[in-house]
Amino acid sequence: MNDHARVILVADDDEDILDLVCLTLEQAGHETIRAADGEEALRLVLRHRPDACVLDVVMPKRTGLEIIEVLRDTEETSDIPILLLTATIREQYLPPGVEKSGKGYLRKPFSPRELQERVAWILDPRDR
């Protein structure tokens, strides 16, 4: 796994979940950048250009969906793979750019193993 170590931005306003996601991804050998709200997440993405983002949908300041929109509209960030964490959102409301096959988002609650698998998949879909 270490061969595939990447930088991943994780954004969630719930600190416990933020810790959980980062911990899980670090266990998988990735580096994480932490963001506690939407604006911070967007700022950090633009600054650090991570290999992937794991975004909570419902966050203060900017939602995960809004961040996706900005990233998709910005040339430098338009192909950063994104995994949405959602407690509520319905498949039909997912914005364009999010995989609707069920792999581009993860429903809360999720198991750490599932999270690791999904992140691996968005980083390199051909692996699957």
């Binding site: 719930d14 979940i17 911990l23 419902v58 407690a87 809360k108 999720f110 198991s111 750490p112 193993r113």
Partner: protein, 748 residues
């Protein structure tokens, strides 16, 4: 006879002369029979008798020895016979005159007595002198009762008696009077006090120095009644609001009452130059030929509804009754018709129907997009209109979302089409009734419709909370004037629609709020669960060896319950989605055998714990297009129920089979079973079997409701077989090749 009588008479005479000498006296006596004969039989026979008698005496005198000479005899005869003849002649005359008078009297009496007129004779003091039998019958007085009584008191109503006396006085003074010698009408009085109409003729006769009046009275009661009846009929025809007309077998109008003028607007003069064909609306099929044929065949038409057109294109609906008219020989020569104007009634009926229809439609809770187009034909029929369009407001635009054309007519050019767009303006928030040249740019397609010959346009907007929501536009070829009642009806309908839209919007807001609430609840419930489950898993995976045996047990309790709570939250939210119809599936090819195996493995710990023997059998491994997670949930829920309701040491089995394109998953248990009356409620939301409650079996009654919803979404069905005490079998059937979905079309 006369000759024999005269011969016998002469023989008698001679016999008397033989024995007597009184020749002269006898000769004189001869005057008597001649006079008698003249008297009795008339002058000419008397003359003949006299000549015959004289001749025979002369012959007798010539042949017999006489005392007097023949010359003297003749001389005496010449004196006597003329005297006899003169006496006979005068007597005869008198007799004839007398018999003539009495014959006339008899004739007169007969006439008087048999006359159908009452004949009343009165004198110049107004006393009744004569009263014939007809008068007796007519007035009810017997002749004896009235002779000598005052004429006016007996036969005249009190109010005209004074006139009689005036008239009589006038006549006696002037010798003439306007009514005498004339026929006139007057009222007469019966004995019983009733009055009756009469026709009277009076003649005055001067008789022995006084005036006698003969009154001929004719009872005209019956004639009057007939006359009145005829007048009544005429006045009915003249005054009725119905059109009464007659026509030839070719349809030419031959009579036309004022009612017809009222309904159709044509005067009698105009109508008499027209035919029934002229009353057929130009855009409708000709129905007159059929009607005429029916009349020619002697058929009646009873109160049948027809559409007709009057002067100036005015549309009229009439109920028509037609009768053939026959001549004296019984041949049908014409037709007569009564047309009753039922436009008003029909219109009311149509308005009511439209209003009723709209109310009914709205009661079915139609979508806001579908409601206008669905109501449009009802109003179109009510108008009745030729065609219509429904415009839905879409921001600054109006978009035509539906059109309608009456099935009665083919429209050469439609005024608009579905998908047409137009900008809306503020004037369109009010009803608009445009006729002829008025129709212009204020309405979408208005000008185009006017140019296409649609002379009348009606715009009825639906306004919701002051905002234009949509509008109906109706068109008609005919020139139609503003119809207050129609507009009123349509306004009532659009008010109703507006209220419905407001209600629906409010409901939608509530729905949305509910949605948001569930979203929030879901989020708030899941977020802590995410941490509990996530950290629990991390703990179990990476820190487990550092925990004591008891700590690991506690951790597993925490994780198991967290999973259970997660399922419960998932079920609740799924149920909400099912209820609001937003339940969606993620379809893919599913191996049902794998689903069943996974579910059985997941259920095994629970089964083991209750010492339940859990077995699975699969005859085949059918594949279907479905949502693997949801199908897994189906088997999970069924198994979980089966285990819950089976006592310790019981058996639960799953059997998968496929037959005729249908895969069947059967979950059988050896539990308490389900009574028949409970089976129908099993799939109701939050239903809990009484048995489950008694046995304190956990659950909230969502499992089977969710199972059924998922199975339904897979176009399958679920069946239950159970006998109380003998376990239960839940059988889920899912088509192996489900209905084709467009989204499954493979992309190139």
């Amino acid at each position: 006879m006369l000759a024999i009588a005269s011969v016998l008479y002469v023989a008698f005479l001679i016999a008397r002369l033989e024995n007597s000498d009184m020749t002269n006296g006898l000769l004189a006596l001869q005057v008597i029979p001649v006079a008698l004969v003249a008297l009795e039989l008339g002058l000419a026979p008397a003359l003949g008798f006299a000549v015959a008698a004289m001749g025979s005496i002369v012959i007798w005198a010539l042949t017999k020895d006489v005392h007097i000479s023949a010359g003297e005899y003749v001389a005496r005869g010449a004196v006597y016979f003329p005297v006899a003849i003169a006496v006979g002649w005068i007597g005869g005359r008198l007799r004839v005159a007398e018999s003539t008078v009495s014959a006339r009297e008899r004739r007169l009496r007969t006439i008087v007595e048999s006359s159908t007129d009452a004949l009343i004779t009165s004198d110049d003091e107004g006393r009744i002198l004569a009263w014939n039998p007809t008068a007796e019958r007519m007035f009810g007085w017997r002749s004896d009762d009235v002779i000598g009584r005052s004429l006016p008191d007996v036969v005249m109503p009190e109010i005209i008696r004074a006139q009689y006396w005036d008239g009589l006085r006038g006549f006696l003074m002037e010798g003439e009077h306007g009514l005498v010698g004339q026929r006139f009408e007057g009222l007469a009085l019966r004995r019983d006090g009733s009055e009756f109409p009469t026709e009277v003729a009076i003649s005055a006769v001067r008789e022995s120095n006084r005036w006698i009046f003969h009154a001929f009275v004719h009872d005209t009661t019956e004639r009057k009644a007939q006359e009145n009846e005829r007048k009544r009929l005429v006045s009915i025809v003249e005054s009725t609001g119905d059109a009464i007309l007659s026509f030839t077998l070719e349809g030419r109008i031959t009579s036309w009452n004022p009612g017809a003028e009222l309904i159709y607007g044509y005067t009698e003069d105009e109508a008499l130059r027209m035919s029934l064909f002229d009353l057929v609306p130009p855009d409708q099929p000709d129905d007159v030929e059929v009607l005429l044929k029916q009349v020619r065949d002697g058929g009646r038409i009873e109160n049948t509804d027809y559409d007709r057109v009057g002067k100036g294109g005015r549309h009229v609906e009439v109920g028509v009754t037609v009768t053939p008219i026959t001549n004296a020989a019984g041949k049908i020569v014409a037709g007569a018709a009564i047309h009753r104007d039922i436009s008003e009634r029909k219109r009311r009926e149509r308005y009511l129907t439209a209003q009723h229809g709209a109310t009914q439609l709205l009661a079915q809770v139609p979508d806001l997009d579908e409601m206008g187009p669905a109501i449009m034909p009802m109003i179109g029929d009510a108008g009745p209109w030729l065609c219509a369009a429904y415009w839905a407001r879409d921001g600054e635009l109006l978009r035509c979302t539906a059109t309608w054309t009456t099935p009665m007519t083919r429209l050469p050019v439609a005024p608009t089409h579905e998908g047409a767009e137009a900008e809306w303006n503020a004037a369109q928030a009010e009803p608009l009734w445009l006729v002829g040249d008025q129709a212009g740019d204020e309405l979408p397609s208005g000008k185009r419709a006017a140019l296409g010959g649609l002379r009348t346009q009606l715009w009825i907007p639906i306004v919701v909370s002051g905002e234009l929501f949509g509008a109906f536009q109706f068109f008609d070829r005919r020139h139609r004037d503003w119809d207050e009642e129609l507009v009123g009806t349509l306004n009532a309908i659009t008010d109703q629609i507006g209220n419905y839209v407001r209600r629906r919007r409010a409901e939608e807001e509530v729905e949305q709020a509910k949605d948001e609430f569930f979203g929030l609840v879901s989020h708030e419930l899941r977020t802590p669960l995410t941490s509990i489950i996530g950290y629990g898993e991390l703990l179990a995976e990476s820190e487990a060896e550092r925990l004591t045996e008891q700590g690991r047990k506690f951790l597993s309790v925490i994780r198991r319950n967290a999973q259970r709570e997660m399922r419960l939250v998932g079920d609740l939210l799924l149920l909400v989605r099912i209820q609001e119809g937003s339940f969606r599936m993620e379809l893919e090819d599913v191996d049902l055998r794998r689903i069943v195996e996974q579910a059985v493995e997941a259920a095994r710990p629970a089964a083991d714990k209750r010492e339940i023997e859990l077995s699975a059998r699969a005859d085949s491994s059918p594949e279907c297009n479905g949502d693997p997670q949801r199908l897994g949930q189906v088997v999970d829920n069924l198994l979980s129920n089966a285990i819950k309701f089976t006592p310790k040491g019981g058996r639960v089995g799953v059997n998968l089979s496929a037959n005729n394109g249908v895969a069947a998953i059967e979950v059988t248990d050896s539990g308490m079973g389900i009574p028949k009356e409970e089976q129908q409620h099993l799939f109701d939301r939050l239903y809990r079997a009484p048995g489950a409650m008694e046995s304190a079996i956990p659950g909230v009654g969502l499992g089977l409701t969710i199972v059924k919803a998922i199975v339904d979404a897979h176009h399958g069905r679920i069946l239950v077989e159970s006998e109380p005490g003998a376990g239960a079998t839940f059988r889920v059937e899912i088509p192996v090749q489900p209905a084709h979905h467009p989204e499954e079309v493979p992309n190139e």
